[in-house]
Amino acid sequence: MLTIDSLRAYGANVNEGLTRCMNNESFYLMLVGKSLEDRNFEKLREAMAAGNTTAAFDAAHALKGSTGNLALTPIYEPICQLTELLRGKSEAVNADALVDRIMEQLEKAKQL
């Protein structure tokens, strides 16, 4: 079950995320749940598969904002790297490993 403790154990910077939610725990958990269902994860995967770096960048950029704000560090960190890798590029090099890591962390979080 998604709880403050399980998120903390997962590696999220819970204190930071909670502060942004005015320390409203249930609100924070609700947003985290919503974030894990964000359609941008799906868009990112599809765009990468199709080699569409622009669409991939847009999705990654959006995810960077929300996971950053919720301090979901295990997802946020590879997303930051991916965003920089894709920025202004027509071709993604060495991006697959990062995408895999993101999806892996996403699944892990969903199991909480």
């Binding site: 939610c21 005015m22 919503k34 950029h61 904002g65 704000n69 919720l70």
Partner: protein, 561 residues
């Protein structure tokens, strides 16, 4: 009244434009304690909301990357709309790159993602809203609505700062005043008055173009300008007058200009403005001069005048004003006979000593205090008439001045009749002297009021005849009982040969109007002989007596009556 507290206690609305639900909701929970929050998920929706609630949104928090319409396009649209561009925008960004571009497009600040502490976000938003609203309030009140020049308060505030930073630059202050503006408004209408003020303001704008200088409308028809020193203010003046003439009406409108040369940092700018205004006021009514440069004696005079104005009420209460009497003699017979007297006020100030009427009467005429002083003199004179009647058995007519200002008092007739009744003296023993210039300035009203006073039994003498601008036609319809001319005036305008002829003319005019001709200011035997030869009826002047206190006047009453 709108106070700061009220303004800052009103709940503002913030519009969050962000496609990411998580980010949007996060900002929402941070803001909703302090603000009403509206949400839009892209630029297009934001524009729709702003159109739906015009004037409601105090601040926009804007994401950059959004579907349909992104933040950059939204900023572009906002910049093209005057109302929208007044709403401050804070950009939500996780990219440094976007910052410069959005800044150029009018964003005021940034909130980085991931977000800072909520307190920091709230503080930033609050500060920006306050800053923008204060700026808007200032913009609304710093300019004079009619002319576009600064308002007085802002002029002094800005010019004080400029003065502190002026360094070695030579700078001056000028005051520009419209002569008799109230009259211009009355005669040509307020619309023309406004046009005139705008023309002067436009002229001032022109003068300041390309150089240092700021200007304000300091009062209804008074302008102050703080500017880099000019060599030739007469030229500045004539350019301003060109503006006035360009209004295309045949008017006698005239500007007056006072200049303070060489503003220093040691005195507040207000002081220099007062000085320039004082210089400007020295030529009020003097049509020969239009530009005056201040010199230090003017300020001393200004201070002295302020003192007199401040002391006036006390002086009345403490009877520092005393009334002197100067005899008028009837010279028609072989032996001059005491005919009447003129009441003349004197001020014996406990600290300043004897003050010449020439120093305080024009001053009180200017600010309206003269009415109080007149009232005092009327009562004193009436009481004196009664006193002489009781003690000496002589009812000697005494004339008093009615100032132009007194005619604005609709109660004038009732007041004068009351004074006469209170003292139990005949109405025609209190003679009213009205200067000719009072007639020409508001002719209809004057004719009506003077007519009513005469019907009530008062006698009216026209004072200072020849110094005003009355037409012969006006003289014919004027209800008066005597024409009074000043020797000094005759001497001033013409050399002695023509002067003789002038007096003769006035006497003939008085004959034609069937009223006595009175000449005042007759000082010596030669003048007396000349005046008598011309056929003048009544004489007042040092030749017979200077104005004296009542007790010194009484011997003449006993001897020459």
């Amino acid at each position: 009244m709108i106070t700061d507290a009220l303004i800052h206690s009103t709940r503002r609305t913030v519009l969050i434009v962000e496609d990411e639900a998580v980010n949007r909701d996060l900002l929402g929970i941070i803001l909703k304690g302090n603000y009403d929050v509206l949400y839009a998920s892209d630029g297009l929706e934001a524009l729709e909301i702003l159109e739906t609630y015009p004037g409601r949104v105090a601040m926009i928090l804007l994401d950059i990357l959004m579907p349909r319409m992104d933040g950059i396009e939204f900023l572009r649209r906002r910049g093209a709309d005057e109302a929208l561009s007044r709403i401050p925008v804070i950009v939500l960004t996780s990219d440094k790159d976007a910052e410069l571009e959005t800044l150029k497009m009018g964003a005021l600040d940034f909130i980085a993602k991931p977000y800072d502490m909520p307190e920091i976000i709230l503080a930033r938003i609050q500060r920006i809203i306050e800053f923008v609203e204060d700026r808007q309030i200032i913009q609304e009140v710093e300019r004079d609505e009619l002319t576009g020049l600064y308002t007085r308060g802002f002029f002094f505030e800005y010019s004080r700062r400029l003065q502190a930073a002026q360094g070695g630059e030579l700078r001056d202050v000028i005051a520009v005043d419209v002569d008799h503006f109230r009259l211009v408004n009355e005669v040509y209408g307020k619309g023309f008055g406004d046009e005139l003020l705008c023309a002067v303001a436009d002229g001032i704008w022109d003068e300041l173009r390309g150089g240092f200088g700021i200007a304000c409308r300091g009062d209804v028809d008074l302008f102050y300008v703080y500017l880099n020193q000019r060599e030739d203010y007469e030229a500045v003046y004539s350019r301003l007058m060109d503006r006035v003439h360009a209004l295309g009406r045949q008017t006698n409108v005239r500007l007056r200009m006072g200049v303070y040369r060489g503003v220093e940092a040691d005195r507040p700018l207000d002081w220099y403005c007062v000085a320039a205004k004082a210089a400007c006021d020295t030529i009020r009514g003097n049509y020969a001069r239009s530009v005056v440069v201040y010199d230090s004696t003017m300020h001393e005079r200004e201070l002295y005048n302020e003192r007199l104005i401040a002391d006036m009420e006390t002086a009345i209460a403490e009877k520092q004003f005393v009334v002197y009497y100067q005899p008028k003699y009837d010279i028609r017979g072989d032996v001059p006979k005491l005919y009447s007297a003129e009441a003349l006020v004197r001020w014996i100030h406990p600290e300043l000593g004897f003050i010449s009427p020439g120093a305080f009467i024009p001053l009180f005429e200017e600010n309206g205090l003269i009415s109080k002083l007149d009232d005092f003199v009327w009562r004193e004179a009436a009481a004196q008439i009664r006193d002489w009647q009781d003690r000496l058995g002589i009812c000697l007519p005494v004339s008093v001045n009615i100032s132009r200002m007194d005619f604005f008092d609709t109660d004038l007739k009732r007041k004068l009749l009351e004074i006469v009744a209170e003292n139990g003296i005949p109405v025609d023993s209190l003679v009213l002297e009205v200067t000719e210039s009072a007639y020409s300035q508001n002719m209809e009203r004057m004719l009506k009021t003077v007519g009513e006073l005469r019907e009530a039994g008062f006698r009216i003498e026209m004072d200072d005849f020849g110094s005003g601008y009355s037409s012969l036609n006006m003289l014919c319809v004027m209800p008066i009982d005597a024409l009074k001319i000043d020797m000094k005036f005759v001497r001033n305008v013409v050399n002695s040969g023509v002067g003789y002829r002038m007096v003769e003319l006035v006497v003939e005019m008085a004959r034609a109007l069937d009223v006595p001709a009175v000449v005042e200011g007759v000082e010596d035997e030669a003048q007396y002989q000349m005046i008598k030869r011309v056929g003048c009826d009544i004489i007042q002047g040092y030749y017979f007596s200077r104005p004296v206190p009542p007790e010194d006047f009484e011997p003449m009453m006993k001897k020459d009556r």
